[in-house]
Amino acid sequence: MRLPNWLHKLASPPHFYRIAGRIEPWMLWSGLAAIAVGAFGGLLLAPPDYQQGDAYRIIYFHVPAAYLAMQLYALMAIGSAIGLVWRMKLAYAISAATAPVGLAFTGLALATGMLWGKPMWGAYWSWGDARLTSVLVMFFLYLGYMLLHASLEERSTADRAAGILAVVGVVNLPIIKFSVEWWSSLHQGPTISRLAAPAITWDMLWPLLVMIVGAVLFSLAVTLTRARAEVLLRERGARWVRDVVAVGA
């Protein structure tokens, strides 16, 4: 199977560097704006929950963080798979740039989940709970990816080795997704579902959706910034990098 042509063009590092540099500020500022609007709507405008009171409002941080933790893992794994199959160096650079961002969002999802769990379940953590355990596993997978990447000296070896780990770890994603349905879990069921009507009133839902969109844009902007730096570092011998650095673009 061959890659489509536009993807080939995008895969050239100077082209990617330029395009990403143009998109990135838009994503960053629109993402931050959406997060501000969503936080305002979620923390101040949305009505309190009849069961959980005001404590439920942490959902506006917890759900976007957890969602991104998984999406960024998928991005990292897809990047690694593309790199392994088609030997595309840029895909590896994006994977390597994604890992710390994903780790941060996984940490945020775990931390907000623990803070939410204490008042609702009476405990910060429950061992043996499938959802919590599988997200913790993902945290360690991100960590393992980064440590393995950092400990292998030669970059191409590190890319491939860490990439294999990322791809093997993909089995964890469906486990996280369906853990609440497969096993009896302390964790509440999904609030938003693509197929069913949401189990949440619109007043509470719209800030959540805005927060998710904002968090996605923000995380992609951060990832792109990191990926651009990664590309510069990896291509530091190339002429175009010298031109870019000289101009200061």
């Binding site: 393995l148 070896t157 491939r160 080795a161 093997v168 770890g169």
Partner: protein, 221 residues
């Protein structure tokens, strides 16, 4: 297939020449499990409850001790590079090495586990269910370890990293192994966790050797 058997045979010869490793492995398993029961000083009923977790975790740790032996010696003396240069598919190589490693370091733990289970006060079917969970779970652990060991074989201090990579992947196996044993200790049917472990093992045999083979290629010098 013939090459596969040759590799397997060779692995056995090497492991039995370094038989001290096997003794250390079994010794670690026995000493650590008994150490725990002595130090914790639990009531007999609690001991049986804890036994499943303790025996499983210690079995995992003692196998972890032997996991660097999968590829590290062969990488150090260059044998691995020669094997990768040959026509043998590295996936078969990984499968043979995993098989030999399990027979030498995993199987004794399975065989010894009823003894330990009895010393932890388990009775009845639990004495059979614990070895059954170990028999299904430990080969899956070794197969996971081949991937991690192949990824870290080139590293100077790769053992710690190997443990860190294996642990999250091994968690489901450990959880189902312990859950099955606990059910049996409570006198409940343990079929479901055993089946999950079996399913896990099948998937592991089918996919992980190829991942390990790719990892060997990726980290070859």
């Amino acid at each position: 297939m013939r090459i596969w058997l040759t590799v397997l045979e060779q692995e056995f010869i090497i492991y039995f020449k370094k038989w001290i490793h096997i003794i250390i492995n079994i010794g670690f398993f026995l000493v650590s499990t008994s150490l725990f029961s002595i130090v914790a000083g639990l009531e007999p009923e609690l001991l049986a409850q804890w036994g499943a977790g303790v025996i499983w975790v210690v079995a995992f740790l003692s196998m972890l001790l032997a996991m660097p032996l999968l590829f590290q010696p062969d990488r150090d003396d260059g044998t691995l590079d020669l094997m990768l240069l040959s026509t043998v598919d590295p996936a078969w190589l990984a499968l043979a090495k995993a098989g030999a490693n399990w027979c030498v370091f995993g199987l004794p733990l399975v065989l010894l586990s009823p003894l330990l289970a009895a010393s932890y006060g388990m009775e009845g079917t639990a004495l059979l269910v614990l070895p059954a969970t170990l028999a299904l779970g430990t080969p899956a652990l070794i197969l996971l370890a081949t991937v991690a060991a192949a990824l870290t074989a080139g590293l100077r201090r790769g053992v710690g990293l190997l443990a860190l990579l294996v642990l999250p992947l091994a968690l489901p196996v450990l959880l189902f192994g312990v859950r099955g044993t606990e059910l049996a200790v409570d006198g409940l049917p343990a079929g479901a966790p055993l089946m999950m472990l079996g399913a896990f093992l099948f998937v592991a045999v089918g996919l992980l050797p190829w991942a390990a083979g790719a990892a060997l290629r990726a980290t070859a010098n």
